[in-house]
C-alpha cells in the first residue's frame, strides 16, 4: 500500500480526494483502482461470454430440432430455423474463441433484427400468435443485451488496438526497465520533476506548484499542447512515487513509478504504471493523443531514455550528423520512423 503524503510529513493537510475525471468520483489512483477495474472488466466479459454460450445453445437446438423450436417460437419454416441455428452457432463460436469479439457481437445484433422481423411477420399472420409474442419479447431482450455488449466493445477502440493490453474499459499499462543505479539515485532524479522533460519526449515542461501539485505541459500532435495538473498521491523516497491528475486536467490519468532494487545488487528495476480511460471523453482524450496508438512503446522509449540519462549522462543520438542525399522516403523514415 502506498503511504499517504500527509504521513510522509510533507506538512500539508490534504483535502479529501476531489474525484478523478474519467473515473468515478473519489476513485483512488492506479494501483488501488485496479481491482475495481478488473472486476468491471470481468463483468463485461461474462456478459459477452454468456451471449456466446446462449448463441451456441440456441443454435444447437435450432439445428438439431428445428421443428420443436419452430413450434415454441410460433414460426413455420424448419429450413429457415436450421439457417438461423447455423448463424447462431457461428456467432457463438466467434464470440467465444476470437480475440476480436466486437464483429461477432454485431453479427448477433444483425441476426436479432432479422429474427425480430420474422417474428413480427408471424405475429401479424394467423396461427400461434401467443407463442410468437413471447418469443418476440425474449428476442427483444436479448437484442438489448447484444447491442449493449457490442457498443461497449466497439467504443473502446483504443483499448482494443493496444498490443498486450487486454483491458476493455480502462487502460492499464505497465512497463519497466533495469538500470545500473541505486533505487535512491533513480528516485531522486525522478522526484525533481523539472528533470522529466529530459527523457520524456513529448513533455515540454513540468512546474512544481506546491509540495503536492505540479503543472504539466506536453506537445501533442500537429503543434497542439496538452496541459494538466497533477497531485502526488504517494511518495516513498527511494521506493515509489504515485500521482493523479486533478479535475481541470486535459489528460486524465493516474500513474506511479516504483524503484525496486534489482537482484543481487543488479541496479534498479524501474516500473511505470499508467491508468487512464479512453472513454473519458474530452478529459481522457489528451492522454490518448499524447501516447498515440502504441502507448506501451512510447513509455518503453521514455524509460530507455531515462536509463540512458542516468547511466551515461546523455541521450545517444544521430540527429544532426552528416548524411548523403536522402530521398523523400529516407527523410520521412528518418524523421518519423527510425529515431522514435
Amino acid at each position: 500500500m502506498a503511504t499517504d503524503v500527509t504521513q510522509q510529513g510533507l506538512g500539508q493537510s490534504r483535502p479529501e480526494p476531489t474525484g478523478f475525471p474519467g473515473f468515478e468520483a473519489g476513485a483512488p489512483p492506479a494501483h488501488h483502482g485496479l481491482q475495481r477495474d478488473i472486476a468491471r472488466r470481468d463483468a463485461a466479459e461474462s456478459l459477452e461470454r454468456g451471449l456466446g454460450w446462449f448463441s451456441i445453445g440456441l443454435g444447437a437446438a435450432a439445428v438439431a430440432a428445428p421443428r420443436a423450436v419452430c413450434w415454441l417460437s410460433g414460426l413455420r419454416s424448419p429450413t429457415l430455423m436450421r439457417m438461423v441455428g447455423t448463424r447462431e452457432l457461428a456467432a457463438g463460436i466467434g464470440i467465444l474463441t476470437q480475440r476480436e469479439r466486437a464483429p461477432w457481437l454485431w453479427s448477433r445484433v444483425v441476426g436479432d433484427t432479422f429474427d425480430l422481423a420474422a417474428l413480427a411477420v408471424a405475429l401479424a399472420g394467423r396461427g400461434r400468435r401467443g407463442r410468437a409474442a413471447v418469443a418476440l419479447a425474449a428476442v427483444a431482450g436479448v437484442t438489448a443485451l447484444d447491442v449493449l455488449a457490442a457498443v461497449r466493445l466497439t467504443g473502446n477502440r483504443a483499448g482494443r488496438s493496444i498490443p498486450g493490453v487486454s483491458g476493455r474499459t480502462d487502460i492499464y499499462l505497465e512497463r519497466s526497465i533495469v538500470l545500473s543505479k541505486s533505487p535512491e539515485e533513480c528516485y531522486r532524479f525522478w522526484r525533481s520533476f523539472e528533470n522529466l522533460p529530459r527523457f520524456m519526449q513529448s513533455l515540454e515542461s513540468v512546474r512544481q506548484l506546491d509540495e503536492r501539485r505540479s503543472q504539466w505541459v506536453a506537445k501533442g500532435p500537429m503543434a497542439t499542447r496538452v496541459q494538466w495538473t497533477s497531485e502526488i498521491t504517494a511518495d516513498r523516497p527511494g521506493e515509489e512515487l504515485a500521482w493523479r491528475t486533478l479535475d481541470d486536467s486535459g489528460a486524465a490519468h493516474a500513474g506511479s513509478v516504483r524503484f525496486e532494487a534489482g537482484p543481487a545488487g543488479r541496479g534498479t528495476i524501474v516500473r511505470v504504471s499508467l491508468h487512464y480511460s479512453p472513454l473519458g471523453g474530452a478529459l481522457g482524450a489528451g492522454l490518448v493523443r499524447l501516447l498515440g496508438h502504441d502507448p506501451q512503446s512510447r513509455i518503453r522509449e521514455d524509460l530507455r531514455r531515462f536509463k540512458q540519462v542516468m547511466e551515461t549522462g546523455e541521450i545517444p543520438t544521430t540527429r544532426g550528423q552528416p548524411t548523403g542525399r536522402r530521398s523523400l522516403f529516407g527523410r520521412v523514415t528518418q524523421q518519423w520512423g527510425l529515431t522514435v
Binding site: 533495469v178 538500470l179 545500473s180 543488479r266 541496479g267 512503446s297 518503453r300 522509449e301 530507455r304 536509463k307 540512458q308 547511466e311 551515461t312 549522462g313 546523455e314 541521450i315 545517444p316 543520438t317 544521430t318 540527429r319 544532426g320 550528423q321 552528416p322 548524411t323 548523403g324 542525399r325 536522402r326 530521398s327 529516407g330 523514415t333 528518418q334 527510425l338 529515431t339 522514435v340
Partner: protein
C-alpha cells in the same frame, strides 16, 4: 568533407557532405588518416544488410587525429592520435561493466528496431545500418565518435597507421574468434575463410598456442598468406573435399575447434550451394551459411564452433542435431573491441604481430567504390584495402589515374 555514401546495392558514391559536429558532451571529432574496407562492409555493398537507407555514410574501421572534444571528454585532447573501435559503448551499463562492449544497452538510438529483429538490441555500430544505430561511418575525412571517453585508444607515434588501424575491428575480431575456442595445448583449429578476419584468427590461434591451424579458402593468394604468415596448413575447397580432408588430417576425430570467418555470403558447390542461392534470391532465407554447416559437421565431439562471420537474419538447414548430439559449444558475437585494444596494442608494440601484413591495396578515399569491387571480386588478389581520405598528394598512388597502387608481399 568527402565521404563514401551508400545509395543501394553496388551503388557507392564518394561525395561532399557536411562536416560532423559535436552533438553530445561525450562526443569527439577525429580527422581520419586511414580507414579500411571491412569484409562485413561487403554485405552492405551487396545489399544483404537490412535497415540501410540511401544516403548512409558507411565504414567502421578507422583511425585519426582528435580535432575536437565534447565538454565531458577528459581523457582525450586535440591532437591525440587514436584508433577507434567499431562498436559504440557507453562504458557504464550492465554489459559494458562486464567488458561485453558490443552489447552496450545505451548506444543504439534505434534499439526498438533491433529488438523487433533479434529480441534485444546490441550496441550501436559505426556505419552499419539503422538497425544498429544509423551512425555515420568512418569512410570519410572526419567522423563523430560518441562516448569518445570509452572507445578510442591513443597509439604511439612510432607505429605506422597500418600497424594499428586494424585494432579497430579485424584484428580483435580474429583474436576473439580464436580466444573463444578455449585453445589448449595440442589443439587443432580449422578456420573457414582466409580474408582479413580469418587470417587474424589463424595468427591469433597460433599465438594462443594451437598446435595446428588448418586454413580453408578457394583463393590461392589467401591460402598462401595463411601458410606463409601463420604457418597454417591449407585446404582449397575447390580442389579437395574439406570434410574428408579434415578427417584424415585429425586421425578421424575432427578439429578441436572450428572458426567460421565467412559469414552470410558463403559460397558452396553442388546442391546446397544452388539451394542457398535460390532461397536467398527468393527471400526465403536472408543468409547463406555453407561454411557454418561444414564447421558444425566437421567439429570434434565436445568441440567449439566460433563464429566471427556476420549473420544478420535467418539461415536454413543448420545441422542442429550435430550441435546437440556432439555436445558442441557455439560462440559468437560482434567483437568486444574495447576489451582487446590495450592487450593487442601491446602485442603489436612487442613485435609479436605486425597487422599491416594483410594490406594488399592502398587507395584514395575517392576510389572507394573501386576498392569495394576489387575486394568483393578478389580482383588482383585483393585481401585488404586501406583508404586514405587526405591523399591529395599521390604518396601511395602511381601517377596513372585508374591504376591501383598495390603492394604485394
Amino acid at each position: 568533407m568527402k565521404a563514401n555514401v551508400w545509395y543501394g546495392r553496388e551503388q557507392l558514391r564518394v561525395e561532399d557532405v557536411p562536416d560532423p559536429k559535436i552533438l553530445n558532451p561525450r562526443d569527439a571529432i577525429v580527422r581520419i588518416t586511414s580507414t579500411a574496407i571491412c569484409g562485413s562492409d561487403l554485405h552492405i555493398y551487396d545489399g544483404y544488410i537490412p535497415g540501410m537507407l540511401p544516403g548512409d555514410i558507411i565504414g567502421h574501421e578507422f583511425m585519426g587525429e582528435v580535432v575536437e572534444v565534447g565538454s565531458e571528454v577528459r581523457n582525450l585532447k586535440v591532437g591525440d592520435r587514436v584508433v577507434n573501435p567499431f562498436p559504440i559503448s557507453c562504458g557504464a551499463c550492465f554489459f559494458c561493466s562486464q567488458s561485453l562492449f558490443s552489447l552496450c544497452e545505451n548506444s543504439n538510438p534505434n534499439a526498438w528496431l533491433a529488438e523487433k529483429l533479434w529480441g534485444h538490441s546490441p550496441a550501436g555500430l559505426f556505419g552499419y545500418s539503422h538497425v544498429l544505430g544509423g551512425y555515420a561511418g568512418g569512410q570519410a575525412q572526419y567522423a563523430r565518435i560518441p562516448f569518445a571517453d570509452v572507445g578510442p585508444i591513443k597509439v604511439p607515434e612510432d607505429l605506422s597507421d597500418e600497424q594499428v588501424l586494424f585494432l579497430s575491428d579485424v584484428f580483435p575480431t580474429g583474436y576473439m574468434a580464436a580466444e573463444q575456442c578455449g585453445i589448449r595445448q595440442g589443439d587443432t583449429v580449422a578456420v573457414w575463410g582466409c580474408g582479413p578476419v580469418g587470417l587474424f584468427a589463424i595468427k591469433s590461434a597460433r599465438l594462443l598456442g594451437a598446435e595446428r591451424v588448418i586454413a580453408i579458402d578457394r583463393f590461392p593468394a589467401r591460402l598462401r598468406k595463411a601458410s606463409q604468415w601463420a604457418e597454417a596448413e591449407t585446404l582449397n575447397y575447390e580442389q579437395v573435399d574439406v570434410a574428408e580432408a579434415l578427417e584424415v588430417m585429425t586421425g578421424g576425430r575432427g578439429p578441436d575447434a572450428c572458426i567460421d570467418a565467412v559469414g552470410m555470403e558463403g559460397h558452396a558447390h553442388g546442391l546446397f550451394g544452388s539451394y542457398d542461392r535460390l532461397k536467398q534470391t527468393l527471400l526465403l532465407e536472408s543468409d547463406r551459411p555453407p561454411a557454418l554447416r561444414q564447421a558444425i559437421k566437421a567439429c570434434r565431439n565436445g568441440g567449439t564452433v566460433s563464429i566471427p562471420g556476420v549473420y544478420g537474419g535467418f539461415v536454413d538447414k543448420i545441422p542442429f542435431g550435430a550441435v546437440v548430439n556432439k555436445a558442441l559449444t557455439v560462440k559468437s558475437g560482434q567483437t568486444h573491441v574495447q576489451r582487446y585494444l590495450r592487450p593487442l596494442l601491446e602485442l603489436v608494440e612487442k613485435g609479436s604481430i605486425d597487422p599491416s601484413f594483410v594490406v594488399t591495396h592502398r587507395l584514395r578515399l575517392e576510389d572507394a567504390p573501386r576498392g569495394y569491387r576489387m575486394f568483393r571480386d578478389k580482383q588482383d588478389s585483393c585481401i585488404k584495402v586501406v583508404l586514405k581520405p587526405w591523399a591529395d598528394v599521390p604518396t601511395v598512388e602511381p601517377d596513372a589515374p585508374g591504376e591501383t597502387a598495390r603492394i604485394l608481399h
